[in-house]
Amino acid sequence: MDGLRIFLWRLHTAKKTKLASACRGLMITAWLVLSIPVQPAWSEDPTSSSSWFVDMSRFLKSAHGSLTCERCHAEMTVKGKVHPNREDPTAMKKNVVRTYDYKRCASCHPEAYKRFLQGEHAKALEKEKLALQSEGKEPPPQKSAPTCGDCHSSHYVQAKRSRVELGTQMIETCGKCHKAQEASYLKDIHGRMGVFLETKASAYCTDCHGAHTCESLKDKQKALAACLRCHKDATIRFAGIVIHGGSADISKKDPEKQASIALVGTIKPIAQVCTIILLAFFALQTFVWILRELHRRLRGR
């Protein structure tokens, strides 16, 4: 019994293989009958770089596995450095991802760092720093602008990932902050094709929003330029198609998009209600009809 359970569990977790995918219809039946462990005994956030513990077996396999600790954490070797500093009350509360000096990444990744500096995230980060200096206010952790470490795992980053793998992980990474956008993307045809049906011809986040520049596409011309990469005959109106159509991510600054979403938002419930009413009426009518004829037949009429 246990052997079968473990086999089923393996099948379930191995989502990426096609064989497992083909077996999933059977799995649902099996799920009801057999116990399948939901979690392993202990799991840690697999990408968190801010954990105090480094899993050496995974680190050595990562893209950064050949680097020494000091290559990135040079400040620890400064003379007179006390670590951990118990006298400093803020030491424990420090968010390393925010305080770490990510300029050091540029020594190996200069191009990416340059593009990051041109992008929206860097601008937001700059704004945040100014606000912190002038008002001493720190943004809530979920709303703060990302540094390198917020998106990239420095200890466990993998090398040579495929386009689909990179894309699906990218959706999760960006989705940590841009939840509504992630949800609406996954409902859109690009998301359904790219993530669920694993088509590499689909567009992932950075394909439209730019690698490391992460620009907003509110400007229709910019959006059109993104569309034109794949849709060769697109015109300026084509860029008016709403991709991120959830109600939570209506941009206040974009009245056109707001109007579009409002229009869809009015017609959609009407269509749904009509569908449900029609189907419910005919289902009930058919059901009673069948009962009536059965009754007559049983009565021998």
Binding site: L34, E44, H295
Partner: protein, 491 residues
């Protein structure tokens, strides 16, 4: 330790290079100086070795007890100090844990980070609270108790501390870090409650508690409740065994009455009658006749063809009650099955919880169907009175019992939603119950203590149902299918 050894070694090398002609005193002084100097130099150069960082920051293998103890040591570096504290609602809460107590805990070979997950990181704060479920499946032990306390976090009951609090935002009852007067308390012992003592229930189940618990500690559901609710395999409140004994007596009486009649010509010997009867059943089950019998079972029992022949509206009334009970029984039985064989799965937790949106909606819908069926039947009996409906007293008793059980169930649900302060987005799944809870919130009749009484009324009514089964109209649940199957050919 590493640093120490290395500097000693270096000191020895250096001291060999010293001139041997110096006096012993000068040599001693010099040696002492060198020792200190190279200690310091050695320690600063040693930091260039990468292993230095990993002395502390290597992730331990938490599958080994040694790794667990080493990981605990990392946390104890700060948390065994009496000064270790956290800021909780502008007051300092002690976060000291005493190793001497913890080493006597059943959790002594469990690392801090295995329960307090995602806390060993910067910034240093707990994001997820204590995670018990990764080792202890919730529905594995004491399923009757655990099913009723789904929104109570494990540590609220299982930690030996008398203070709990209701977190309205998450709809969770949690262990409190402060006492009644909002003064911080220490949890340094990390002691696990002895659940064999019943007193620990009373930290919530007292009058005027703030966590939304009913005043009385109610018994567990009985296994006979499985007709409508998930229930563990327990006897529960004493009214149920009493009801079962009465019902069993009724069954025996009925069977005795049946076997007074002659069986295949045999009049006198009961033993012979049973023998002949069972022989007849056996020969039917293992013959081709089983197929027409199964067909009869499917059409006449499951699909209720006979009742449809009587009338479409009668079929509707009976189906509203029969299929609702049937569906509720099927779902509760599935929940019991899953709880036995898959206590840790999400599906189990969903099906045993009354507040999960699926179960709440399902129960309210089926309960509503039963009530609608009872009201429709009553209306036909007492208001519209079509000539083909003959009213017997027995029918009315059965209908009244079923109606009252359902009604008291809805009242209970309404009071539970009101007393428990279940937030509307959760409570709305139980739409009838939520409406009742809004209605009851207008007047406060001491619902917190009332809940216990109405619970017993509901339980008593169901016990009455069970006890009444072999005597009145409700007998038809078993006798009608039986007679249909026995007389299948004549039909």
């Amino acid at each position: 330790m590493e640093t120490n050894k290395r500097s000693e070694r270096e000191k020895r090398v250096k001291s060999l290079m010293k001139p041997r002609l110096q006096t012993s005193a000068a040599a001693l002084c010099a040696m002492a100086f060198c020792f200190m100097a190279f200690w310091m130099v050695g320690s600063s150069t040693a930091q260039e070795e990468p292993s230095e960082c990993l002395d502390c920051h290597r992730q331990r293998n938490l599958n080994s007890n040694e790794g667990v103890l080493s990981s605990q040591r990392f946390c104890y570096n700060c948390h065994q100090e009496p000064g270790s504290h956290g800021d909780f609602r502008a007051s300092k809460v002690s976060l000291q844990v005493k190793p001497e107590y913890f080493l006597t805990s059943p959790h002594r070979y469990v690392a801090c980070v295995q329960c307090h997950t995602r806390v060993a990181q910067s910034p240093h704060r707990s994001l997820s609270g204590v995670q018990c479920a990764s080792c202890h499946p919730r529905m594995y032990g004491a399923p009757g108790t655990h099913a009723e306390h789904q929104r109570v976090r494990c540590e609220a009951c299982h930690t030996d501390s008398p203070f709990v609090t209701l977190d309205a935002a998450n709809n969770q009852v949690k262990l409190a870090h402060t006492n009644d007067k909002q003064a911080p308390i220490s949890l340094a012992k990390h002691k696990v409650t002895d659940v064999s003592r019943q007193e620990f229930c009373s930290k919530c189940h007292v009058s005027n508690n703030q966590v939304g618990a009913p005043t009385t500690v109610l018994p567990s559901k009985s296994f006979v409740c499985i007709a409508c609710h998930y229930s563990p395999l327990q006897m529960g409140s004493p009214v149920f065994p009493v009801a079962i004994i009465i019902a069993a007596m009724g069954v025996v009486g009925t069977l005795a009455f049946w076997f007074k009649a002659s069986v295949q010509g045999e009049v006198a010997s009961v033993h012979r009658k049973v023998q002949l009867g069972s022989e007849a059943v056996w020969s039917k089950v293992f013959s081709w006749e089983i197929f027409p019998i199964l067909k009869t079972f499917f059409f006449d029992v499951l699909l209720q063809r006979r009742i449809l022949a009587n009338g479409v509206s009668r079929w509707f009334i009976h189906s509203l009650i029969f299929y609702s009970f049937f569906a509720r029984f099927a779902l509760s039985f599935l929940a019991l099955f899953l709880q036995k064989f898959s206590p840790e799965s999400e599906l189990t937790l969903t099906l045993v919880s009354k507040d999960s949106s699926f179960v709440a909606t399902f129960n309210d819908l089926t309960g509503g169907f039963i009530l609608a069926g009872v009201i429709w039947a009553m209306g036909r009996r007492f208001i519209t009175k079509p000539e083909y409906v003959s009213t017997q007293e027995q029918d009315t008793i059965a209908l009244v019992i079923i109606g009252l059980v359902t009604l008291s169930g809805f009242l209970l649900e309404g009071i539970r939603l009101l007393v428990g302060q279940i937030p509307p987005h959760v409570a709305l799944s139980a739409f009838f119950g939520y409406a009742i809870s809004r209605l009851f919130s207008v007047v406060d009749l001491g619902w917190q203590s009332m809940y216990g009484y109405i619970w017993y009324v509901h339980a008593f009514l169901w016990a009455l149902f069970i006890a009444y089964l072999p005597f009145g109209k409700l007998k038809h649940i078993f006798t009608t299918p039986l007679s249909l199957l026995l007389n299948y050919k004549r039909g």
